[in-house]
Amino acid sequence: MKSEVMPDQIAIVTMDDATPLERVLARVIRDNIKRHHLTLDVLHHQGQVNLISTTSSFNITVSCLADKIVIQRGVQKDAKISLSGDWAGTVNPGMPLKIKGRWQHPRFTAFIKQLLIQDRRPWQVAAQEFFECVHEKVDVNIRVKVQPSNETTCFEWGSGNEDITITGSSSNLQRLFDKQSTLIEEVVLGRIQCHSSLRTTALLSELTINRLLGDL
């Protein structure tokens, strides 16, 4: 069992053998606690939420307890609400999901949404944060040009000796830079084009995976 205590003392607990999806959820919750400045007193919203896969037997429960939030596999019979969706083929459940039980527990539902829904920030803001992380964590010497296919403005960063170009729709760029996808997945699916050396592609891809999973 892994427990990470935020500065505001809300511990996010995942199991030792947590799946990628559980780890992504833990990271999303941590990010949202930070973004919304949530402190321990929000945990007067106690209860469990089941995340039900519509395409497999793989389900997750998020339990909001008095001093921590626990993420584990399986379902709880007495969960207040359940969210369902198709997350086969992805490590990120994404949103929106179908919500059951919201009418009986509107405040808890609103709290859960606040915890689990990832904000969609402008892609330039996310890109700036991403490349600051590149600067800090990745051994590359790059000059980047990010060009959205549906906008005229571009984003440039760095002054290194390797020119790299990343293109794609602004919504795909937003997903990529804001921890909702990985570079290699976007490239393989043809949603993002990245022209760089193989090494840089690999290292940037690794960073997107680390950010998605909360491994940084």
Binding site: F58, G89, I184, S197
Partner: protein, 465 residues
């Protein structure tokens, strides 16, 4: 028996002439323990010596379904997709025996200038063996190869999605040493033995093992490099024989309900050809070296599990009372502990490491085991108390070995003793390759808690291991 190794010869050309060799099959083992190579025309093979022929660098940087590793990096790789070399070890050159003008040679991945690539599994084992040699010891080792044999051909097994295969056995029970089961497999095994002997691979015994259609084959102890070569060649021969006879065989760790495939690894140390684990002047004949060595093996066992149980499927084997060990423990003649010590006579004193799964990479597994022993020797460690009881069903507070590919990778990541010997960059790359498999497994919608192997595991492991 006609091993006809080239190592006895002065001229490669003459050897090829005398054995009518017109083609050579190169054989290299990738990170996942899968045999790769090419069939080369004789003149092409000779022209490429001594450094060997080209192969794409992603051969060493791809997963078990040949998808290149594009989400992590190693310094041997090229910034564009390029080539590396397969450098043949001509001492391993033998004739095929079935395909009459074919020769076989074991290779290592090297850079284009012929320099070593440390990430190459065979190179890695050579480095660790050298480190053991440098402190004055030689290693003798052997493996127990376990595999399942089915009446269905590989094609039929694939069409059946590897479900309800007809095990080659006479009893519907999970019997062991059952001669009627052995007899059903004897025709197949006779052919396997013939081919092993042709290649110069010495064997000691084979028997019916517990699982449905399961067979265990024991090889004669030898030096670690030759042993790992023999394991890889034996697995290929078993595949080829099954294929030729319209059967299927797999070293996949857990393809069906019940018993699983393990690969127990035995080793002992010698100095000037004398066994050094045995010391008649010490209590229970256990030399100080032996105890230090065991201490290192036990201490590094959770981390070494990443190499010994390399796949998602390997961990389906690790259950209490299911035969494999689940704790980092050791004991004399104890088959429930991670280390079984056999120390009653000088000639047979050895360590049996019982954690390994059937799908392990023999080069990397041996390297991890020897590195663990070496770390104990170097630090003069003392082993934990010997386990004289059954090492299953122990109280929950006794730590268990890792139960998943990521737990094992995490243990390895935290173990500097193994990293210092095996190389930090190479260990880090291995860990990332395990995360790659874990992400792949989960991204395909598989339920990690499902008690049955997923189709993803069958498609990926049944034919390859």
């Amino acid at each position: 028996m006609n091993p006809t190794p080239f190592r006895e010869e002065a001229s490669l050309d003459q050897w090829m002439d005398r054995h009518h060799v017109k083609r050579i099959r190169s054989f290299v083992t990738n990170l996942d323990g899968i045999g790769l190579g090419k069939y080369c025309n004789r003149s092409k093979f000779l022209k490429a010596l001594p450094n060997g022929h080209n192969i794409a660098d992603v051969a060493l940087a791809a997963d078990s379904e040949s998808t290149p590793h594009l989400t992590f990096w190693h310094s041997f790789r090229h910034n564009v997709m390029g080539d590396i070399l397969l450098k043949p070890d001509l001492d391993t050159l033998v004739t095929d025996g079935i395909d009459t003008d074919l020769g076989h040679v074991i290779c290592e991945f090297t850079n284009m200038d012929g320099s070593a690539i440390d990430l190459c599994p065979r190179t890695k084992l050579k480095q660790v063996v050298k480190a053991v040699n440098d402190v004055g010891f030689q290693v003798k080792a052997t493996c127990e190869l376990e595999f399942f044999l089915f009446e269905d051909s590989f094609d039929e097994a694939r069409l059946k999605q590897y479900q309800n295969l007809q095990a080659i056995e006479s009893s519907p029970l999970e019997t062991i040493y059952f001669l009627r089961d052995s007899y059903r497999a004897a025709g197949f095994m006779n052919e396997v033995i013939k081919r092993l002997e042709w290649c110069g691979i010495q064997w000691e015994a084979w028997n019916d093992e517990n699982g449905h259609g399961q067979i265990e084959l024991n090889l004669v102890p030898t030096d670690p490099i030759s042993l790992a070569d023999n394991v890889m060649r034996s697995k290929q021969i078993i595949f080829e024989t099954a294929s030729d006879l319209g059967l299927s065989a797999t070293f996949m760790a857990h393809p069906q309900k019940g018993f699983s495939n393990g690969m127990h690894i035995h080793h002992s140390l010698l100095s000037d050809s004398k066994p050094v684990f045995f010391d008649a002047t010490k209590p229970e004949n256990r030399s100080d070296l032996l105890l230090h060595w065991i201490a290192g093996l036990v201490d590094t066992m959770p981390a070494a599990t990443s190499y010994l149980c390399p796949t998602i499927n390997s961990f389906r084997r690790m259950r209490e009372f299911a035969a494999p060990p689940v704790t980092a423990t050791w004991g004399e003649e104890n088959k429930s502990t991670g280390i079984r010590l056999i120390s009653k006579s000088p000639s047979t004193t050895r360590i049996e490491h019982r954690v390994g799964a059937g799908d392990l990479n023999p080069y990397l597994a041996l390297a991890a085991i020897l590195a663990g022993g070496l770390s104990g020797f170097t630090s003069k460690s003392t082993p934990p108390t010997e386990c004289n009881a059954l090492a299953w069903g122990l109280p929950a507070e006794i730590p268990r070995l890792p139960r998943s590919i990521m737990e094992a990778a995490g243990e390895l990541d935290r173990n500097d003793a193994l990293k210092d010997i095996l190389g930090h960059e190479d260990v880090d790359y291995w860990i990332k390759s395990r995360r790659h498999d874990w992400l792949n497994f989960n991204a395909k919608g598989n339920d990690p808690d499902d008690s049955k192997p997923s189709q993803w595991e069958y498609d990926r492991y049944f034919n390859l291991f």
